[in-house]
């Protein structure tokens, strides 16, 4: 069964949401999803940019009050 892990990286200045996502994907199985919560405006741009570069799947971005929920699926 594919799992979904939630990382609350709101207010995380270092290492920050993308680095947390990269670390979580290393431990995830192919098909698993990781949902990152980020209050850093940059994440909405840099997470999809990296996902495209590396070849995972962007499942979606939901804008909440003061943060975004970004869901990614591990493809390889």
């Amino acid at each position: 069964m594919a799992e979904r892990q939630v990382i609350d990286a709101r207010g995380a200045f270092c290492p920050g949401p993308l680095m947390e996502l990269i670390a979580a994907l290393k431990l995830a199985a192919v098909g698993d999803e990781v949902e990152v919560w980020s209050s850093d405006q940059g994440s909405i741009k840099d997470i999809p940019e990296w996902i495209k570069k590396v070849g995972h799947e962007m499942v979606g971005i939901e804008e909440r009050k003061g943060y975004a929920e970004i869901v990614v699926r591990k493809l390889k």
């Binding site: 990382i7 270092c14 290393k26 940019e49």
Partner: protein, 379 residues
């Protein structure tokens, strides 16, 4: 019956918790109302930030290591007998020798470890300085190095967010001092789209690298190393040749955490304010082994440990928690062999480093010397 506090791990965080508790609840300890036990994997306490200077021969190894029994308060019962299983339901920790320790309060402080073996070819093809033996090998390789392509490769996650930049600038200065800089080309690689996780540090590092002729590649997450062909390839599809590869390997928490089913990758799900293990009111987690999304650094371990000391002392004497951890992290950054800067932030205050100066470099060196006082809880 005496109340039992069990600390697993006698590195920076565990030691500060043990020593801090002895200061706060000294009378309860002397009456025998409370007993503090610590389980360690070794009797040697290693000053890890000092490892940065080993490849350059700039620290005596005797300065890096102390006998843990001299660093930890004598009132803490210290066993060199690593934990092999932590059962939070039964409230029992089993050790390598087969002993079983019960507890009323448990503090998990087992830190993190480098895992080069998780990337094909990395252990064979790369040097790193995050462990003493490896740092010695890197020193030997640097001694023989006469020029060529150097890749400084950073992987996520890793402890001490600033050490990769520090080693890069220090290498560049070393090559200049040896008069071989024109025969050397350094390329620094980083997992995300800028040169450092902290935005202001990344902004500072960019012109510094350009001015010093250091190349860089961002969005570089290592897929494999080919030790024979001497190339390193990223998940993003880039391959770089090297004559000397210096890596910051990806980290994980300890095996005992995974074996006890306490957290994937050895990272324990932890409440970022109370530092409780998620789901346990009597288990605290401190230092590198938490899954809190902040820097895995000595200062983080220190500020978290102080919070746990206050809360445990208050729980044991008054039955209530004292305060939350505010997410504070403080880092000195070596910007070369002779200058440094610093940066601090917490959950609500963004980082803002000052300009590099020689004074900050000396402060960092002074801090290196003062580490032992801070582990003993005197700073």
């Amino acid at each position: 019956m005496a109340k039992k506090i069990l600390i697993v791990g006698g590195g920076l965080a565990g030691t500060i918790v043990g020593n801090g508790l002895c200061r706060k609840i000294g009378s309860e300890l002397s009456r025998g109302d409370i007993v503090i036990t610590m389980l360690g994997a070794t009797n040697q306490h290693l000053y890890q930030p000092g490892l940065l200077y080993v490849p350059f021969g700039r620290i005596r190894e005797s300065e890096l290591v102390r006998d843990q029994r001299k660093v930890i308060d004598k009132r803490v019962v210290f066993h060199v007998d690593p934990a092999v299983n932590i059962d939070v339901d039964k409230q029992e920790v089993t050790t390598e020798s087969g002993r079983v320790h019960g507890y009323d309060y448990l503090v998990i402080a087992t830190g993190s470890r480098v895992m080069p073996q998780t990337i094909p070819g990395m252990a064979e093809g790369a040097h790193w300085f995050y462990e003493l033996d490896a740092a010695r090998k890197m020193r030997d390789a640097l001694d023989k190095f006469e020029g060529g392509k150097v890749v400084v490769n950073v992987n996520a996650p890793h402890k001490c967010p600033v050490a990769p930049l520090e080693i890069t600038f220090m290498l560049q200065e070393l090559f200049e001092q040896r008069g071989i800089a024109d025969k050397c080309e350094i390329t620094y690689t980083y997992p995300i789209g800028r040169l450092h996780a902290l935005e202001p540090v990344a902004e500072w590092a960019l012109p510094e690298m350009e001015q010093r002729g250091i190349k860089y590649e961002t969005f570089f997450n290592t897929k494999s190393v080919d030790p024979k062909a001497r190339t390193i390839t990223s998940e993003e599809g880039s391959t770089l040749p090297f004559d000397l590869l210096v890596t910051i390997p990806p980290h994980q928490g300890q095996q005992v955490i995974e074996d006890s089913d306490l957290g994937k990758g050895g990272w324990v799900p932890t409440n970022k304010l109370t530092l409780h293990r998620e789901g346990s009111e009597n288990v605290f987690v401190v230092g590198d082994t938490t899954n809190i999304p902040i820097s895995k650094a000595g200062s983080t371990a220190h500020f978290e440990a102080d919070t746990i000391v206050d809360n445990l002392a208050s729980l044991l004497t008054e039955g209530r928690m004292a305060r939350d951890y505010d997410g504070k992290v403080y880092c000195f950054v070596e910007t070369g062999l002779t200058t440094g800067t610093y940066v601090w932030f917490n959950y609500t205050t963004p980082p803002n480093p000052g300009p590099p100066s020689q004074m900050i470099h000396w402060l960092k060196l002074a801090y290196n010397r003062m580490y032992w006082l801070s582990a003993r809880g005197l700073l």
